[in-house]
């Protein structure tokens, strides 16, 4: 790798820091055919997935509980409590995997562990203390649910939920400080900085800390929604009564809505993170976007395509249980067309895998015609149109059983349509115009495209909420009357989100290449190389499979607990 040789210019002659500590640099591991990196990889990934679960789901629970309080609807309260019950088990799973991770790092990477503790020890103690507060708050939140059910006590209970989220967020921010330090240590830390002399705050508050914090915060909401959706799908598919199915159908819809909604803003946080990575080290940025990792983004495009298709599909199937949705059926095929063409453009590789004859015919690895689709202008246009289409699906779903009664309903609908059309025109215009300008200007265009889409989303929702006030209903949504395949779409969404987290985690961690701490502490173990996408994908799949195995068990336990409650009340 060219980039790697570049870093090799800064070879160090010895490792003066680590040489001070006695003992081996690395411990041995050889169970289940895993090497030491594989062991830490799995432990870290599972810890992260469960941690995302126990951070994402409480956010969800608190929001749902608040909706329950404001709308005075028992249904929401029940839903929020059900999530919290899942949390209890997931919480201990997080702690177990966290402990495994710490034991693995400290025994398999002993010197590096000593280095980290020398810098971060006080924050580690704080972390443990906060973890304790968080658990205690969670227990209060769950076990106090029925005790504090009314009036001020309910508000206090909701406050506990907020507190739970605050603890969780701080805990995550602290852990993010450790891992972002490994990616982007402060510029004054060099190979011969003694770890004891590194200022704790400057180590935590490094270049990528805040972007990662925000990115993970939003991603946790997405993940929480997706996991809730998967739970609902699982319970829906295994439930035996119509009443239960109705409840879990509705739960799945809510989870999916929150996941997709939060997903739409996630790219902004990712964009910021990417910028900070470039600012911190161009080599790291190029490794990520153009170099070694460039094919990872094709895989990511593929996964995002799955997310868009599955998310829309779920909404379209859902329209089958809404009276009045028939009138929107003819639009579905056109929306699907936009999505399929969007996915095709979005996932068109710039450099194609081709045999010798095909390369000869193309005159290179780039296709003379499809190469036009392989660049950012085309991809940004495609993804913005896909977001618009998804939003349109959602608006049709919302409108399906409603008949606006306000006098300006017709004008309002036309305004909404015009907003969609204008946004699409702006997106396409800048997409095409982007081919005729330089990159700097082009990057600016993607901002206009996204702003046009966001403005449309806000504008249309504002009109919609005013227009549908007191709207006439064409009939209630028949919750529970959902074909099973919609629930499988929810499951695929959850698996895809989880896998995507693993993939992007690999990207984030992999761009450090052969460094424990980028350009400060070198990885001298035999696993210092960065694996190719294939082996990495296999590891990610193993992690996701273990995660869903354990989550399945948690779901099953959740059902078991509920069953016993039902049986008791039945007696």
């Amino acid at each position: 790798m060219r980039a790697a040789t570049g870093a090799g210019l800064a070879l160090l002659v010895a490792m003066p820091l680590l040489a001070q500590a006695a003992g081996p640099d690395y411990g041995e591991f050889g169970i289940f055919g895993l090497d030491r990196r594989g062991a830490v990889w799995i432990a870290a990934q599972l810890h992260l997935l469960f941690a995302a679960f126990v951070l994402g789901v409480p956010m969800f629970a608190v929001v749902i509980e608040a909706i329950g309080i404001f709308t005075d609807n028992e249904r929401y309260d029940k839903l929020a409590k059900e999530f919290t019950r899942l949390l209890l088990v997931a919480y201990s799973a997080t702690a177990i995997w966290g402990a495994i991770l710490v034991f693995f790092i400290s025994t398999l990477y002993p010197r590096f562990w000593v280095y980290l503790t020398a810098i971060f020890a006080p924050s580690m103690w704080l972390y443990a203390a906060l973890f304790f507060f968080e658990s205690f708050t969670l227990y209060l939140y769950y076990y106090g649910w029925d005790a504090w059910k009314k009036g001020a006590a309910k508000k206090f209970h909701w406050g506990l939920g907020i507190l739970l989220n605050i603890w969780g967020t701080i805990v995550m921010f602290i852990a993010n400080g450790w891992l972002t330090y490994m990616m982007s240590p402060p510029p004054d830390v060099t190979v011969d900085t003694a770890p004891q002399t590194v200022q704790l705050w400057s180590a935590i508050n490094n270049a990528t800390w805040m972007p990662i914090n925000i990115h993970r915060l939003i991603a946790n909401v997405v993940f929480g929604g997706a996991i809730v959706g998967a739970y609902a799908a699982y319970r829906f598919l295994t439930s035996e009564s119509d009443e239960e199915r109705a409840h879990y159908d509705w739960m799945g819809y809510t989870g999916n809505l929150i996941a997709i909604g939060a997903l739409i803003v996630l790219p902004f946080a990712g964009y910021w993170l990417g910028r900070e990575i470039y600012e911190f080290s161009q080599q790291m940025g190029i490794t990520m976007m153009g170099g070694f990792m460039s094919w990872l983004w094709i895989i990511q495009a593929f996964l995002i395509g799955v997310l868009f298709l599955a998310g829309n599909y779920y909404l379209w199937i859902g329209m089958g249980r809404i009276p009045g949705a028939e009138r929107f059926q003819p639009y579905i095929k056109w929306m699907l067309l936009v999505l399929v063409v969007g996915v095709i453009v979005w996932a068109t590789p710039n450099t194609m895998i081709a045999s010798r004859d095909e390369v000869a015919a193309m005159g290179g690895q780039q296709h003379p015609f499809l190469g036009v689709l392989g660049v950012m202008s085309a991809k940004n246009t495609a993804v913005n149109l896909m977001i618009l289409t998804t939003f349109l699906s959602f608006m049709l779903y919302r409108r399906a059983n409603k008949e606006p009664v306000v006098s300006w309903a017709k004008t309002g609908t036309m305004l909404q349509g015009a907003a969609f059309a204008i946004a699409a025109v702006i997106v396409v215009f800048y997409g095409i115009y982007g081919y005729f300008v330089t990159a700097i200007v082009r990057i600016g265009f993607s901002v206009y495209q996204v702003l046009a889409v966001l403005a449309t989303i806000i504008f249309v929702i504002l009109i919609d909420s005013a227009m549908l006030r007191g709207a006439k209903s064409r009939g209630e949504i028949q919750w529970g009357k959902m074909p099973a395949r919609s629930q499988y779409a929810l499951l695929i969404l959850a698996v895809t989100f989880t896998w995507l987290m693993g993939l992007m985690g690999f990207a984030r961690s992999g761009i450090r290449q052969h460094w424990h701490v980028y350009e400060v502490i070198r990885d001298t173990s035999e696993q210092a190389f960065t694996p190719a996408l294939g082996p990495a994908a296999t590891m990610i799949s193993i992690c996701v499979a273990i995660f869903f195995g354990l989550v399945g068990m948690i779901f099953w336990l959740g059902g078991l607990a509920e069953k016993s409650v039902y049986e008791e009340t039945a007696k």
Partner: protein, 273 residues
């Protein structure tokens, strides 16, 4: 049955993703081999390390061995080094010509070489000297040279981390280009050698493209220059400050050398034979 279907859905999804990621071309990022030099390193090991540097990250073969830009060294350096400067032994000569190359330009060549201690740490420079001595001579680099180098240079050169803001306007991009050795291969306003694309061709290009072309020369090869692909040394960006790099890119894409216009004294630099 339902449970089985759920299981198959999850496993099937995972299998598809794993499969797709395994079908595409697999690139594994290799680790640049760490070179550990201690006072106990034997001459043979030194020569081997030096050879690796010579052919690899040292970037020596970008000029040496082509016959036109710099003298051939392989097979001859060790035998001629003693005779080059009266009173200077082989080892000292080679060392000096690495760290102060423009003072030792061989007749018939241009002073285009850079001070190698800017990109290679001192102990490794000694390994390079050992390798060159081995080309037709005997290796006399010993643990003493080495130990002193180890003592005074345990850290690699890193970019100065001073946060003092540099006024980009005060940087003369042409001088930066000259000091970095760009004109060994590129032409600008009559100065330099036409091997790579002349600077004038960069005008109007995308700054990011130019930046990448400097930082990762192999990434894109300008049309028509495929034959010289791979000649440009990676890491050139590392020997200028970020501000200098920015100024250079700015200059390249605009064609405007800014305040310090001194395209006229190009010949003055090139006459120090």
């Amino acid at each position: 049955m339902t449970n089985l279907k759920i299981l198959l859905t999850i496993i099937g999804t995972l299998a598809v993703y794993t499969l797709v990621a395994n079908i595409i071309p697999q690139v594994q990022s290799a680790v640049p081999r760490e070179i550990v030099l201690t006072a106990e390193t034997t001459p043979e090991e030194l020569v081997a390390i030096g050879e690796e540097l010579y052919a690899g990250v040292g970037g020596c073969t970008a000029c040496h061995g082509l016959g036109t830009r710099a003298p051939d060294l392989v097979g001859v350096a060790g035998s001629v080094c003693e005779t080059r400067v009266p009173g200077q032994d082989c080892k000292t000569y080679l060392w000096e010509s690495l760290v102060n190359p423009t003072a030792y330009v061989v007749e018939g060549f241009q002073p285009i070489m850079l001070d190698q201690s800017r990109t290679i740490v001192q102990p490794q420079l000694w390994a390079l000297v050992a390798f060159l001595q081995d080309q037709g001579g005997t290796v006399t680099v010993n643990a003493d040279d080495f130990a002193s180098a180890l003592a005074e240079d345990t850290a690699p050169e890193t970019a100065p981390a001073d946060a003092a803001p540099v006024d980009p306007a005060s940087i003369d991009p042409v001088a930066v280009a000259r000091n970095t050795g760009c004109f060994a291969c590129h032409m600008y306003s009559g100065e330099g050698v036409e091997l790579g694309p002349p600077f004038e061709e960069a005008v109007g290009k995308d700054p990011e493209y130019i930046r990448r072309a400097i930082e990762d020369p192999g990434a894109d090869i300008a049309e028509g220059y495929e034959s010289v692909a791979g000649l440009m040394a990676p890491g050139l960006a590392g020997i200028m400050s970020p501000a200098e790099l920015d100024a250079l890119i700015q200059f390249l894409v605009t064609g405007d050398p800014g305040g310090g216009d001194d395209g006229d004294d190009g010949s003055g630099d090139g006459s120090g034979e």
